[in-house]
């Protein structure tokens, strides 16, 4: 599914060059559930941004289904995100002045679905995450756990093949954390590829492979067969 070849990403921050990824080559197969772990500032979010087609690497190539992502125009990469990639954010990133239903409708609207299709699919997604009764509530009227479930429904709306999750349990209590991880596992069992950045070992335990980032290097644990750090 994903293939990264000799990918490097450096920033200049306060006059110093920070290397987030250093000549990393690895692959993520279709249907994998990957946990990306590492200390703060190790480049986990940078990796997620690169995988999402939102941050061009300084060097190297990123292939998604054998298409070189960063040889595409930004408009074409937006289209790839719209069709194939779903995001889950730590802070949910729901639009505060839209209802839960309307938030879930957004990716469907961007995909050009009719109003009726949008309503049917958004309803079904919210029912799936157990929020069928709260679909007309705004995010401010929902608990943190409920907001993350709305965000999960929004992620699934366009049936993406890949879900990129950035600390999806970071703002949740233990019970809700488990519930969200169960949903992500369920999405993975349906055949979707999940790449999840997390600090939480319990959350990482749901993954079937862990990528550890340290000093710009990517290490795979426990299987080392797919990792070839430079």
């Amino acid at each position: 599914m994903y293939r990264l070849e000799s990918v490097s990403k450096s920033y200049v921050r306060r006059g110093e060059v920070v290397t987030a990824l250093d000549n990393s080559t690895f692959q993520i197969d279709e249907g994998e559930f990957i946990a990306v772990v590492g200390p703060s500032g190790s480049g986990k979010t940078t990796l997620l941004s690169i995988l999402g087609g939102m941050l061009a690497p300084s060097e190297g190539s990123v292939f998604l289904n054998e298409t070189s992502l960063y040889e595409l125009s930004s408009e074409a990469r937006a289209a790839v995100r719209k069709e194939s990639i779903g995001f889950v954010f730590q802070t949910f990133n729901l639009i505060p002045w839209l209802t839960a239903l309307e938030n879930v409708q957004i990716p469907l609207m961007l995909a050009g679905k009719s109003n009726l299709e949008q309503l049917e699919q958004a309803n079904a997604m919210l029912d799936r995450v157990g929020l069928g009764e709260r679909m007309h509530h705004r995010p401010g009227e929902l608990s943190q756990g409920q907001q993350q479930r709305v965000a999960l429904a929004r992620t699934l709306a366009n049936n993406p093949r890949v879900v990129l999750a950035d600390e999806p349990t970071g703002n949740l209590d233990a019970a809700t954390r488990e519930q969200v991880m169960e949903y992500l596992s369920e999405f993975n069992r349906e055949g979707r590829t999940i790449v999840m950045v997390t600090h939480d070992d319990a959350a990482a335990a749901y993954a079937n492979r862990t990528l550890r980032l340290q000093d710009g290097k990517v290490q795979s644990w426990p299987s080392e067969s797919r990792v070839a750090a430079a």
Binding site: S40, G41, K44, T45, L48, S49, G52, M54, L55, S74, E75, A78, A79, R81, K82, E83, F87, F89, Q90, T91, N93, I95, W97, L98, E102, Q105, I106, P107, M109, L110, A111, N115, Q118, R154, N158, D166, E167, G170, V197, H199
Partner: protein, 410 residues
């Protein structure tokens, strides 16, 4: 849900930030619409007045200044009636009619009013015959090359005495006949054929004029020589109204008149009107200046509000980009909002301006304001263009935001 729903919902849910921008755009259009309505209606009224007044040149005593056409004979100064005869016999090209007037403030049956002496056309014909000129077609001038106005056309019905209200002249008038303005007649409660005693002389009401909405409605008219007798002024008049024809003919006429009567002052209605038209023109140009300034302020306000809106919605924009929104769609979110601001600002400004003009016009300026829907298009188009132009840079900035800002820093 469509993009327009997204824009509309955001505006409805968070109207406050946009209010300032909307208000300034609305005020700009309001100023333009109100002033344009008033100036254009004023020009139309002047044009109508020019067409219906009949007399468009006034000969006045030298010391008189003129503020109001309808009270041109109310200044109390006089000049010899002989001036009328001189003008009639000069047969100047472009003169269609002469109407000398003398005013006398008087009372009858406990009612104060102005008795105005007028000279019927028959007097001019008598003078022509006496002079041996035998000018039956037009005894007072030469109307060659003249066009027909509604005033002269109305005057064609020479038997109708009520035409005095519009043509300022009358064919026949007996020495003890009285013509009453409509307001005065109803105030005195008298009808045609009834007799009224004025300064010891008895006059018979021969005609009641239709209402004109002018000071003439409160006047009484009698033969000039009868009024001269009552006022004991001798053969004098306060004003000579001249019905001059088309502009071409009237152009040279003024010079001829001034040459013929150097002792008097010749004032054309066009001069009076030109002043008003010049004021209207200035107002009209000023309205565009106000409009431009207010729209510039509105544009700056819209731009500032839009920049703030982009900053406030950075995470929202990033989220939309992460979900697959193109940069153009993000720009359209803001440009669409600007378009709504322009349309609503333009429409609101047009409505406010029209209401303002319809209140100020008749109330303060005595002008009936006609609604001009064309200004709605001008207002909406200009407001929309300004709002879109002001939003271009903020929208571009939004579309170029880094979508990675949606992620937490880790």
């Amino acid at each position: 849900m469509r993009l327009r729903n997204l824009i509309w919902k955001e505006l409805r849910q968070r109207p406050t930030p946009m209010f300032t921008g909307l208000l300034t755009v609305t005020l700009g259009v309001t100023a333009l619409v109100a002033i344009q309505h008033i100036t254009i209606s004023s020009e139309e009224k002047i044009s109508q007045d020019m067409d219906t007044l009949g007399a468009n040149v006034l000969v006045l005593p030298n010391s008189v200044s003129l503020d109001d056409y309808y009270s041109a004979d109310m200044h109390g100064k006089t000049m010899p009636e002989e001036f009328v005869t001189r003008l009639a016999l000069a047969r100047l090209p472009g003169v269609q009619n002469l109407a000398p007037k003398l005013c006398l403030e008087t009372s009858a049956e406990e009612h104060q009013f102005i008795l105005t002496g007028i000279l019927p056309k028959s007097e001019f014909q008598a003078k022509s015959a006496w002079q041996g000129l035998n000018l039956v077609a037009n005894p007072i001038g030469s109307d060659r090359g003249c066009c027909e106005t509604s005033a002269t056309a109305a005057g064609a019905d020479s038997g109708d005495r009520t035409s005095l209200a519009s043509t300022r002249t009358i064919d026949e008038l007996g020495s003890r006949e009285l013509i009453l303005g409509s307001d005065l007649a109803s105030e005195m409660n008298v009808g045609i054929g009834e007799e009224i005693s004025i300064l010891g002389d008895t006059f018979q009401v021969s005609t009641i004029l239709p209402a004109t909405g002018t000071i003439d409605d409160s006047r009484a008219f009698a033969h000039l020589h009868s009024v001269q007798e009552l006022a004991e002024t001798g053969p004098v008049v306060n004003v000579i109204e001249i019905m001059a024809c088309c502009d071409d003919a009237a152009g040279g006429l003024i010079t001829d008149l001034e040459a013929e009567l150097p002792e008097a002052r010749v004032v054309t209605l066009a001069q009076i009107v030109e002043t008003q038209v010049a004021v209207n023109g200035l107002m009209s140009r000023l309205s565009w200046v106000f409009f431009s300034i207010l729209l510039l302020v509105g544009g700056a306000s819209v731009a500032s509000v839009m920049y703030a809106n982009v900053t406030e919605r950075r995470r929202e924009i990033g989220t939309l980009m992460a979900l697959g929104a193109s940069r153009w769609l993000i720009a359209r979110l803001f440009l669409g909002k600007a378009m709504l601001l322009g349309i609503f600002g333009g429409l609101g400004g047009f409505l406010l301006g029209a209401v303002l003009a319809s209140l100020i016009g008749p109330g303060w300026l005595d002008i009936e304001v006609r609604l001009m829907p064309g200004l709605c298009g001008v207002g909406v188009a200009a407001a929309t263009i300004v709002a879109l132009a002001a939003t271009y840079l903020p929208a571009r900035r939004a579309s170029l935001l880094d979508p990675c800002l949606v992620f937490g820093d880790s």
